[in-house]
Symmetry: C2
Subunit: 425 residues, 2 copies
C-alpha cells in the first residue's frame, strides 16, 4: 500500500480539522483509496493546540525545515494563513518536491504564478481546492469536470458571512447592524468583519475561480468590488414584491468584449437557483457551452468542510500519476491578449422619495430617458405628507448613465434617490 506522510503547518481551525480528518479516517482511506495517510509532522507555536489534539511529542517540529524536509513527509498542508510566511514555507516545500495543499486564498490569488513555477520546476504538486467554497469541489469541477466546456459565465455566492447576514435581514427584517452583531456572536463574522462584508474575501476567491474558468490570470485588482455595508432592510423588502432576493454576488463573464469580473450586492430573481441559497451556504453557478447551466452548492467554510477539501487534494495528488497545473499560462499579470471590461452594463433597482404631485412621473422618466435609461417596471406608493415612494427596475444600462441620472435627480427639488442596487441577469 502506498504510504503518504503528511506535515501540517499551523493547527488553527483548518489545520486542526485536517489532523482530525486524517487520523479518524486512516483505516477508511486504507480500505477505499489503498493509501496509508499518516500525519508525520506538525508545526505550531501554540502548545495548547498541540495538546488539545493529543499529538505525540515526536511529531512536533521545531522549525519549518524539520517538517517540510522530513523524508517521511510527501505532502505538506499549509494552514498558517497570512501571505509572506506562508509563501516562504510553501516555496520551501515545493522546492523539496513535495505535494503542497493549501486553503490560503490570498496566497493563491496573489502568488500562484510564482508557486506554480516552483512546483513545475521541482515536479511538485500545488493544490488549493480548500481556498474557495470550502468543501464544495468547485476547483476540481472547473479543472477536471467541465474542462471540455468554454465557460461564458460564473456567478456565485462565495462568502458565507455576508450570505448569513443578508439571509437574516431577508427572513427576519432586521437591520444590517443587528444582523452583523448576531453573525459576530455566532462566530460567523470576525471581530473586524471588513474582509467579508466589504467583499475582499469574495474578490480573492473570484480571482482564483475566474482564472481557472477563463484560462487567464484574473488578478484581484481587476475585480470591481462593493460590499454590503450600504444595504438596508428596506432595500431587501422592496425587492420582495418585484420578485427579487438580494445577495452578495461574485460574477465573472467572458464575452466577445472581454472578461468582466465583479463582486457586489445584487438583486436576483427568486426563481434563479442561487436565490434559494440561504444562511451560511455557498453556491457557484457556471454556464458552459456544452453543459449549459450547472450549480454546485454546499458549506463554504468551517473546520470540517474545509479540512475535508484539503484531504481530498492530498488523496487526489497521491492517486493520479502526474500533477495537474493551471490550464493557462500562469503569470503575475493577465495575458496580453486579454481585455477586461470595466465599463459594464447591468440592470438597476432604484428607490426614491418624490413629491406626490401630478406630472411627477413624467418629469422623472424624462430625466432617466435623457440619460439613456429605460424602465422595465415601476411602482409608486403614497408616503406621508405629500411624498411618494417610487421603486423601479431599469433595462440594462451603463453605470455612468445611472450616476448621471442620480446627479440630475439630486439637483431637482422634487426627488431624492435613496437607493441604487444592481440587478443580476
Amino acid at each position: 500500500m502506498k504510504k503518504i506522510g503528511v506535515a501540517i503547518l499551523g493547527l488553527g481551525v483548518v489545520g486542526g480539522g485536517v489532523y482530525k480528518v486524517l487520523t479518524e479516517h486512516r483505516e477508511f482511506y486504507q480500505k477505499t483509496q489503498e493509501l496509508d495517510l499518516s500525519v508525520e509532522s506538525v508545526l505550531e507555536p501554540r502548545r495548547d493546540r498541540i495538546e488539545a489534539l493529543g499529538i505525540p511529542e515526536e511529531k512536533v517540529a521545531h522549525h519549518v525545515a524539520e517538517a517540510v524536509l522530513n523524508p517521511d513527509v510527501q505532502a505538506v498542508v499549509e494552514c498558517i494563513g497570512g501571505v509572506e510566511l506562508a509563501r516562504q514555507y510553501v516555496l520551501a516545500a515545493l522546492k523539496a518536491g513535495k505535494t503542497v495543499v493549501t486553503s490560503n486564498k490570498e496566497l493563491i490569488c496573489k502568488y500562484s504564478h510564482e508557486l506554480e513555477r516552483a512546483a513545475k520546476a521541482h515536479n511538485a504538486g500545488l493544490y488549493y481546492e480548500a481556498s474557495c467554497v470550502g468543501g464544495v469541489p468547485v476547483i476540481r469541477t472547473l479543472l477536471d469536470g467541465l474542462q471540455s466546456n468554454e465557460i461564458s459565465c460564473l456567478m456565485g455566492i462565495i462568502n458565507g458571512t455576508t450570505n448569513y447576514i443578508l439571509t437574516n435581514m431577508t427572513e427576519r427584517g432586521v437591520s444590517y447592524e443587528e444582523a452583523l452583531e448576531e453573525a459576530k456572536a455566532l462566530g460567523y463574522a470576525e471581530a473586524d468583519p471588513t474582509a467579508d462584508v466589504e467583499g475582499f474575501d469574495a474578490t480573492y476567491k473570484l480571482s482564483i475561480l475566474a482564472s481557472l474558468a477563463f484560462h487567464t490570470k484574473v488578478p484581484p485588482v481587476k475585480i470591481f468590488r462593493e460590499g454590503i455595508g450600504g444595504i438596508t432592510a428596506e432595500d431587501i423588502a422592496d425587492g420582495e414584491p418585484l420578485g427579487y432576493r438580494l445577495k452578495l454576488l461574485a460574477i465573472g463573464k467572458r464575452t466577445h468584449a472581454g472578461i468582466e469580473v465583479r463582486v457586489h450586492p445584487a438583486f436576483i430573481r427568486k426563481e434563479h437557483p442561487l436565490a434559494g441559497v440561504g444562511g451560511n451556504f455557498n453556491a457557484v453557478f457556471v454556464t458552459g457551452d456544452s453543459v449549459g447551466d450547472v450549480m454546485l452548492y454546499g458549506k463554504g467554510a468551517g473546520e470540517l468542510p474545509t479540512a475535508g477539501a484539503v484531504v481530498s487534494d492530498i488523496i487526489f495528488a497521491a492517486t493520479h500519476g502526474e500533477h495537474r497545473y493551471s490550464p493557462y499560462k500562469n503569470t503575475a499579470a493577465p495575458d496580453k491578449e486579454t481585455t477586461f471590461v470595466d465599463d459594464f452594463t447591468c440592470a438597476y433597482f432604484m428607490r426614491m422619495t418624490v413629491n406626490d404631485e401630478p406630472g411627477i412621473l413624467s418629469k422623472i422618466t424624462a430625466i432617466l430617458g435623457r440619460c439613456g435609461i429605460s424602465i422595465v417596471e415601476l411602482a409608486q406608493r403614497e408616503k406621508e405628507k405629500g411624498k411618494a415612494k417610487l421603486t423601479l427596475i431599469t433595462h440594462e444600462t451603463h453605470e455612468r448613465a445611472v450616476k448621471s441620472a442620480v446627479a440630475k435627480l439630486g439637483a431637482t427639488d422634487y426627488a431624492v434617490v435613496e437607493s441604487v442596487i444592481r440587478v443580476a441577469q
Copy 2:
C-alpha cells in the same frame, strides 16, 4: 503537444454530439489543455448520420476492429447503446489498451466489474461520467472531490423525463397522461416511456452512484423500484398545503444497519434544495461526514451536456498520468460483508375518503395506531354527500405497517384509501 486520436462508435444523439464538441473545440483544447484531440475513426451503419456530420470518407471504419485497433486511436467512445454488442466492443478496446469512454449506464451497472478487470489487466482506462446525470460531473465529484468523506446519504432527481412530467403536473395541474403526451411531443419522453416512467433508468444510475458512494457493488436488483404511473394531479395538489413537492427520488443511504437503495415517487419538503429542481433539470444531493450537505445541479441529458461529459473524460484520461479505477473491489455481486436493508422505514402521506360522521377520526386513528402508525399532521375537508377527504402525514414507519393499515381500512365500510406516497426525510 500530446496527440489523442479518438474513435467514436455510434453516431446517434450522444456520439454525434461528441463529434461536434471535439471538432468545434479542437483549437480550444490545444490552447487550454495542451492536447490535440482529433477524431480519427467513426463506426456507424447509417450513412445519413455520417453525411449530416460531414465526416470525411477516410475516417469511416467498416468494422469495429478497424476503429478500435487503429494505431492512431488512443481513446474509444462507445455510444452505440444496448448491452451485448457494446460490451464486446468495449472489451475489444480495453484489451487493446485504449482509454474507453462510455455514456452507457446499463452496460456500466451490469458489467463494470468485467470491464474494469479487463482495463486493469491491459493498463487501459474506463470512464463513464456521461452515464449518470449528463453534463453534471457527479462521478468525478464522488471519485475525486468528496473522496475524503464517508458518505451517509445520496439523494437525487436523476431522470429528466419524469421530472419534466412531475413539474408540469405540479405547475399546471395537468394529469399524468396529459403531461406524458406532452413530454413525448417535445422529445423528452420516448415513444415507449417505460424505462423512464417506471424508474429503470434511475435505478441503473443509482446503482452506479451508490456503488461509488458506498464503496461496494450495488446491483440494480437490490434497488427497490416504483414508477410514477400511479401519481395523480390530486396527489400533487394535496402536498402543496402540507408544504411538500412530489419528485421521483433515487435514494441511497448507508447506516449501521446496512445499505438502503430505492427509487420511488416521494414528497419532499419545499425548503429542501431538491424541491426547487424543476423541468428536465437533475440534481444529486450528497451528505458526507466532513463536508455536510452538497448538491450538484444541471442538465441530466441531451446531446451536448452528455457529449461534453464524454469529452471531459477523454481529457481527464489524457491529462493525468495513471488511470483511475473504482475505489472498491469491483465484483459482480456486493462484498460479503455488505448488508442491504430491504425493510426500510419512511414517513408516508395518505389520502382517504371517509364517511363524514361524528367519531370517524377516532376510528381511523385507532386502526392506524393498532398498526403502530402515529400521525404528524392531519387535515379533514368536507366533500359532497356525507363524505370527507382526509389527508395525513405519518411518522416514520415500516411499509408493512402501512400495508396492514390500508388492508384494515379497506375492510371497513367508512373509509377508502385512495393514495399512499412516501415522504423523503
